[in-house]
Symmetry: D3
């Protein structure tokens, strides 16, 4: 049995609280077990230099942990004067994943800033950040759409992400910190509702893994992401419906 | 009448949620109206260089705002590579205020890290940070005391802080962002339960103020801090009692 | 008696040397006892981004200490790659204070850079910086006025600042380093010639203070600032007269 | 046909020049087509703080591109004052991969610094860096072994890495810059001689990919890495033999 | 005899490899004995702010050492977050030297970026950087000329640089690291083919030197630079001829 | 005639004020015409890492300009977060020059910090900094000697520095800003009282210079430095005598 009595292919409890903060266009408190991440989506009317004049938008993500999110106090990047490598890696991952399901050319010259701030960490913070940010992003796009700033919601599909890994007891889904810490293999997988992969990042932690193990991990990730997308659908309710229609009409187009 | 229908000497609703996070020794969600600050207190077994070998402890504070806490997204200090002047000013204020009621020589060579992260800002974030941090600090000291790491709770008195200012309608207590933004004079006052001042910071914002106005503002601050300390006492319950006894026995001593 | 034989309400010797340097529009060597600060005012034809196109000017201040100004060599901010918190706090204080008596809308889109470089420190450097900078600022504005770049001198009143505090012997005016170092309460007060307050910053240094003590300190500050403004008037001579007329005609207006 | 007339599953020409520089313990010029990377391995007798006193060693990697390596001059990280996110991501990838086949406990308290400097870039620089660094690492460990500083060569297996991706024409092995630039999916795969995976990093570049496509890409990566490891074996000659024996005797052990 | 059996006035073997990299306009591998520097010249269509609208071009140089270039690994400037003083000094030297023989007004508003990356260091890296960069610069200017981007090659003369110094055995030419390390006096001299000086930088390393010694060193530098310029002429072949004609026609003019 | 009516070989007025500040061991206000530099020497009981345990001391120099020292306000290095290349170059020059006449092994494990802060700039700031710092250094060493912290004053000779250059009217001594700004050749020369050279830094500013011109410049520099050293001798009075004796007894020794 796992440390928290879950089955090997069982997610922790997932809780998605929309409109968590009053100021941002979209804001979500994403909880996966004890991992809690505030995800916000805010709109900026500027784009990065490489897109100026292109009529194409951009989505960028930043990720951070509160000093009190972990057992040992995490020194602030601001106090150290620079963003550490792990943070860079994670925020690039989040940004790429969300951009892959948004038709940026239908956004116009806007930047959507995604901010993921981990207020409590217990493993899987980057994947919780993606799953929660997607919901905040949809809320922000919906407000843009509703206020006539964009003509349609330019999302081709749902996106969620989950961690899988090889623990003492073998391959498991959604590792908590205690499991993650000791895992031989650690993999983060972002997927769409159609079952397509957006990102697969698997690493042997001072270890290696076989093709067979890789396949088992991918099976677990498919199961987990399907359940997470289901939670997103429930949280989004009728707004989610718009995406699902969109998915058929626009996504097809977009993927060509 | 004020924008939110309060009387000139009325605080916004105060809510203190203890044990808000699972990892820190002390953690509080401090809410004053729509202003929400996560305050944590964590223990480090090292002290700054100037205290090494002195057997004296230290309390230091850091303050930050989530990018999504404000209407316009706040650029992260970490992304800019340096902490801005306002943040410096605030975290020095918080640290000084808390240190003034703690007998650091009874702490031993430990540093208590206070972290104040504003998740939603609506004026008065620095004073909410002080009022909330005090409760997190007490919880942390109580755990140290309870586990035998310190022999007594080295606090001489309660501390709260409140903002007062001169708005269009005259002097008011506890300004929300809309009021603060337009105030002619802005003052932050930190006080103890005994009614002593710890810090008074008053500034004419492109304006000046008379001695009479100053006195009115100080009266309002006294009223506000008394109510905030009452809320701290209710939140701390029986642990607070320990401080009150302490206040009599140890505080006297300490203030000499 | 105080360490330097002064009475409790006695300023150190004040010396204001105008036109100390050849290049800046205004430059002052401000001496208060052994504390010596070079204060300069220089004109830049740009304004910060938030004022572009507004036809409003700006005043900004920077403060620094030479490494040789103190007993222990002060490491340069440039060598450490960042400005420390204390410096941030002080330069914000100087800038706010000077801006509060200048009608920036009559300056046009210009920035006045105030630079305060402490060449010798013996307590009260930030207040000496304000008192000296005001004189450099007047000289710079007078040159702008004289050369037709502005139509009037947009100053509504004199400004000086002084430190007061509670030392061993009780409340005292204008603390030297040895007194400041051991003071229980330390307060910096900036005032106008009309006796209005611009900024009050009082801090219990590991201590607290009563309302009565606060009032005594404010009395001392009023006395000290009156004398400092007198020294400014003598130093400025006939130029100062222009401000005094201005104070009546324009200041009234400005303060509305 | 591909832009350079290769078959879809064909590597570019691979050239491994050992002892390329005179000072480092190991140094390799790694060439894969027009991509050229100088890989060095240098020994430091210190370990990072978290390993002090543990008798365990460490391997860390840094990666950089010369400004002249690319068509558009790449601004130096040093000139910008910080390492960019892509560089962070890459050097963490290189370090993890090499550490996964080294028994750090047999190294003693030493750090091996791997430096990968791209002097000419034409796609696949990070994977060329891994494949070349492995050879430099073996040379460095062999010198440590030969001079009696370590008792055995603590490597459990060969490591190489290759990029695969989905180009216009479908899945291809070892993308050059022109292909990489337009690829819909981009994947970097690090493997051992035994066919185990160390790291799989696949990303849909504004696109997604199916499980079937993922499998085809992994097949290509297995083929490519087998050929790259063959080139390493030829380059290392008799020293490589030591690893192969090691692989049987020590690797088994190590993987438990 | 010298450590490498050279005579006191003998250069090490000089090797200039043109077109060393595929992307830059000009690229040279400059070898002087074991010192190896990659020198590239790249074109940017922007100029620094102080030249905007002037129709004048600019040449700027950057210098760096690979971590593996020296016996003790050199920490990257990027990792330390700032460029060290020695690097600043060297890159300013390279830029000034090259600019002194180029008529920037005939370049138009272009910046030529010179990058000198030392891949192996054995003394004299900054002078090798200048000698090699000159060749890369000529190649870049020739390509600009050949493609009609500039009307003539705006170079007034060849430039080379060499180090001389006072070693144990007395004054010597072209010091290798072992000699340089122990030299009492170290001097770098940049000269033109006409025998004019561009830069003379002589330093007593914890020592001093007489006017007579200075003269002997300058004699050696003249001899060395003549030989280096000869090597440049051979390397440049027919392109060099263009400079020599230019030297007569345009240089005269230019030097007025 | 020169802009300020000097002869081509005439220094500006030189004024050396010792004991300018109260805290440092040595402090000098060095004035050369309108150029004014505060030079201080402070003692630190630590040495840089490379000297720990060697029983050898160190001298290091920092140089800076006040923002108000120049016509156009100079942005502070601290505000930009890094020291610029010119400053690096200058402070390395000052440090090397002073170290060359001090027997660091007789200093013990102390660092002498030399700080040169230009309060008013009119050309020749770096050479004035050296000439003034030497006097501050002697004062500091004398205090160390007098208080028994060192057994003798470990200086082998006087050091001064002067700028020479080729202006419109030909070679001139001690250029003021207006001359320096337009000079074709600019040279800084540091020398000892014995007429030995410590550093020669000559640069063609977009120009070149002949061996004959170089010789004329060196003649001027010799004359200027002799006069500056004379001014140092007068300023130091009887303390200078100690150096002159020292020069005979210890210097001889030291230079071997």
């Amino acid at each position: 049995m796992r440390v928290d009595n879950r089955k090997f292919d069982e997610l922790r409890e997932v809780k998605i609280t929309r409109n968590y903060l009053m100021h941002p266009y979209g804001s979500v408190l994403m909880e996966v077990g004890n991992t809690k991440v505030i995800c916000t989506a805010m709109i900026d009317d500027k784009v990065p230099p490489f897109l100026k004049g292109s009529n194409i938008g951009w989505i960028t993500a930043e990720y951070s942990m509160l000093p009190g999110a972990t057992v040992m106090r995490k020194v602030r990047d601001a106090a150290r004067g620079r963003i550490d490598g792990r943070t860079h890696e994670i925020q690039r991952f989040i940004g790429r994943t969300l951009r892959s399901v948004v038709d940026l050319s239908r956004l116009g010259e806007k930047t959507i800033w995604i901010d993921c701030d981990v207020i409590q960490a217990d493993g899987g913070t980057r994947t919780a950040a993606i799953t929660g940010s997607f919901v905040a992003l949809v809320d922000a796009l919906y407000k843009l759409y509703n206020s006539g700033q964009i003509g349609s919601i330019p999302i081709s599909d749902y996106v969620a992400a989950v961690s899988v890994g090889i623990a003492d007891m073998g391959p498991v889904l959604d590792l908590c910190y205690e499991e993650d810490h000791k895992a031989l293999v650690d993999m983060n997988v972002a997927m769409t509702d159609k079952g397509q992969f957006i990102e697969v990042q698997g690493t042997g932690e001072n270890s290696t893994f076989s093709r067979i193990e890789l396949n088992t991990l991918l099976d677990l990730a498919e199961k987990g992401n399907k359940e997470l997308i289901n939670a997103q659908k429930i949280a989004l309710g009728s707004i989610g419906k718009l995406i699902e229609e969109n998915k058929i009409d626009l996504g097809e187009d977009y993927e060509k």
